[in-house]
Point group: C2
Chain length 224, copies 2
């Protein structure tokens, strides 16, 4: 039977999977371990009595990022495989999203591409998986993509991001048509000229009140 000596440390931790869109792929923020120099872990803290889980998660995210995340949501509780996030019996995980340009990670924190994350405890590995699943699941019904973009963006940027999140190519005309139907964005009067090619109009996220019987976004669009 495991001993439970120190009465002061809290019995559970709050861990946060912070996700951003870095160039052409998603990335997750890791913190260098204070003990072992070459170990990395998700940002986490022992829960504090009297503070809500969400508040703790936001605080953890803010401290690692230098900014509060644009969106945060609980993934669930993880208990499998002890060790690593302290030796807490249980850890509550959150996903957070932030535009890459907004974040300024504090020293000791680094973005790793999702395709190449450092070795983690089984528990935190499960959290990362859970985070990606949660993002996928929310994609149709909440404005996940917009929380990964700056306040103003071009439709091509938005489309590329959706393509990244859905891991699927989209057809330009169909994408824009669906966007229109969902009335999620509105044009600003600014344009951005990005090297060659015609300048693109900038848009902002501005969801209209959804009419009754509105079924999300449905970007189930085509291949190429």
């Amino acid at each position: 039977m495991r001993d439970r000596s120190s009465g002061k440390s809290s019995s559970h931790t709050v861990d946060v999977v912070l996700v951003t869109a870095m160039g052409t792929e998603l990335a997750i923020l890791f913190t260098r371990s204070t003990t072992e120099r070459e170990r990395w872990s998700l940002p986490w803290k022992a829960a504090q009595a009297g503070e809500s889980l969400d508040a703790t998660a936001t605080r953890v995210a803010h401290e690692a990022l230098g900014e509060p995340p644009a969106w945060i949501e609980q993934i669930g509780a993880f208990a499998e495989g002890k060790r690593h996030p302290s030796d807490a019996d249980i850890s509550v995980a959150f996903v957070g999203l932030i535009p890459h340009e907004t974040a300024s990670p504090r020293p000791g924190n680094t973005w790793f591409p999702v395709t190449n994350i450092p070795p983690l405890s089984p528990r935190q590995r499960a959290m990362v998986e859970g985070a990606m699943e949660t993002i996928q699941a929310r994609l149709d019904h909440s404005p996940v993509a917009f929380r990964l973009l700056p306040p103003t963006f071009t439709l091509s940027e938005l489309q590329h991001l959706y393509e990244l999140l859905l891991a699927k190519r989209l057809h330009k005309a169909s994408f824009r048509r669906a966007l229109q139907a969902a009335s999620l964005v509105e044009p600003t009067d600014e344009w951005r000229s990005e090297g060659r090619g015609r300048p693109a109009q900038l848009y902002r996220y501005a969801p209209k009140k959804r009419r009754r019987g509105h079924r999300g976004v449905r970007f189930d669009l085509l291949h190429p």
Copy 2:
């Protein structure tokens, strides 16, 4: 500051929201409090070291229901508002589904229609809400409805259940067409004569391997 005297009780509980379809509405299972006679609560247990959360949840459900649930999934961790499920800092909640005909609740456990649940602690009230949201969210992508029906059922029963879950009337022909497209069910060679009217063919849940590019079920069907 709250004291934390008894060193032996675990620091967190596992609570389960068990849902069934009872006639024309959904119902949730509650357990009569052992102390106060007229209090009810969701079935719960203190977590046991060395047992996974899912295992505990399944055990709690089984003990209350007399059967293991047909499906169970974690909703998340809840910490707001102390009291009630012991005085644990944190509770991990699960949703479970079971066909009404399969369940045989142990003495002290009763189904309450969702429209009329007994007074609960704020924590457990939040869990019930979370459970309903999780069911809604899963509806399109996992076979939630089938876990509320016996192994064999008529298409009308299935449709009524979907109407209940979606809180929306569906058109018969469209419903069947969508079902067919999703290849979720297959006919048995049995028929059931239920009072008046033509007998209905019985079906079983038998999802075919989903072809690439299959987008869930999409029962976004019509009104009258």
